[in-house]
C-alpha cells in the first residue's frame, strides 16, 4: 500500500524556476528517500534523509523533513529541461534491509 503522497501530482514550470514537491507519510520511519524516474525507466536515487535530520542538500536539491507533521519536501533550484521526470518519495522503517513504501509520484515538466 502507498504510504507517501506527493503534492502536487503534476507540475509544469519554465527552465530556471524552482520546483517544490511535497510528500506526506503515515507511519514512523527511519528514513525518507527521493527518487527520479525518466520515461518509465529505472529509478535513480536522489537523496536520503534520516529521521533525525531536518534538512539535507545535494547540488541543486534541498530536502526537508518534518517528522512531527510526517512530511517532507524536495526543492529543485534553477531547474533544467533535463529535470523533466517523475519524482517519488519513499519511506523505510530501517536502513537497507526493509522494503520501501512509495508515494504516488509527481510528474515534473520543465519547459525550455
Amino acid at each position: 500500500s502507498q504510504q507517501g503522497e506527493e503534492d502536487p501530482q503534476a507540475l509544469s514550470i519554465q527552465e530556471g524556476e524552482n520546483a517544490t514537491m511535497n510528500c506526506s507519510y503515515k507511519t514512523s520511519i527511519n528514513n525518507l528517500q527521493w527518487y527520479r524516474q525518466n520515461s518509465g525507466r529505472g529509478l535513480v536515487h536522489l537523496i536520503l534523509i534520516r529521521s533525525n535530520e531536518r534538512e539535507k542538500h545535494s547540488g541543486r536539491l534541498r530536502v526537508t523533513l518534518d517528522t512531527s507533521k510526517k512530511s517532507s519536501s524536495l526543492l529543485i533550484t534553477a531547474s533544467r529541461a533535463a529535470d523533466t521526470a517523475s519524482y517519488f518519495c519513499a519511506t523505510a522503517r530501517s536502513g537497507g534491509s526493509e522494503k520501501l513504501v512509495f508515494g504516488k509520484g509527481m510528474k515534473l515538466t520543465v519547459n525550455p
Binding site: 525507466r41 529505472g42 529509478l43 536515487h45 517519488f88 519513499a90 534491509s97 526493509e98 508515494g103
Partner: protein, 112 residues
C-alpha cells in the same frame, strides 16, 4: 554503489505464457526486492528475496503467479506466470544499501 543488470529490458508476450526476468548485482547483497509499476502508477512491492530462504510476498501477490529464485547473493529471477493483459507493467528489482536503494533499469512487459 551497487550496479544492477536487469534483463530483458522489454518484451511482448502472449497471454498464458510465462516470462522470467533476471537481475544480476555486482556485489553481494542480502536482500533483493521486486516491484511492479503498472502504467501511470507508483511502485508496489511484490516480494522480498533473501538468499537461502523462500521469498516473502506482499498481500495480493502469490508464489504461484510470481515465483522467485535467489540462488546466491548476487542474482535473482522473477517469473510472471500464466500472463494476462493485466500483467502488463514495468517490473523492477532493487537492492538496499545504507544510503539508499539501487534499482535495475526495469523490464517493460506487454501482454497481448
Amino acid at each position: 554503489s551497487a550496479v544492477i543488470s536487469q534483463k530483458p529490458s522489454r518484451d511482448i508476450c502472449q497471454r498464458g505464457t510465462s516470462l522470467t526476468i533476471q537481475c544480476q548485482v555486482d556485489s553481494q547483497v542480502t536482500m533483493m526486492f521486486w516491484y511492479r509499476q503498472q502504467p501511470g502508477q507508483s511502485l508496489t512491492l511484490i516480494a522480498t528475496a533473501n538468499q537461502g530462504s523462500e521469498a516473502t510476498y506482499e498481500s495480493g501477490f502469490v508464489i504461484d503467479k510470481f515465483p522467485i529464485s535467489r540462488p546466491n547473493l548476487t542474482f535473482s529471477t522473477l517469473t510472471v506466470s500464466n500472463m494476462s493483459p493485466e500483467d502488463s507493467s514495468i517490473y523492477l528489482c532493487s537492492v538496499g544499501l545504507s544510503y539508499g536503494y539501487t534499482f535495475g533499469s526495469g523490464t517493460r512487459l506487454t501482454v497481448v
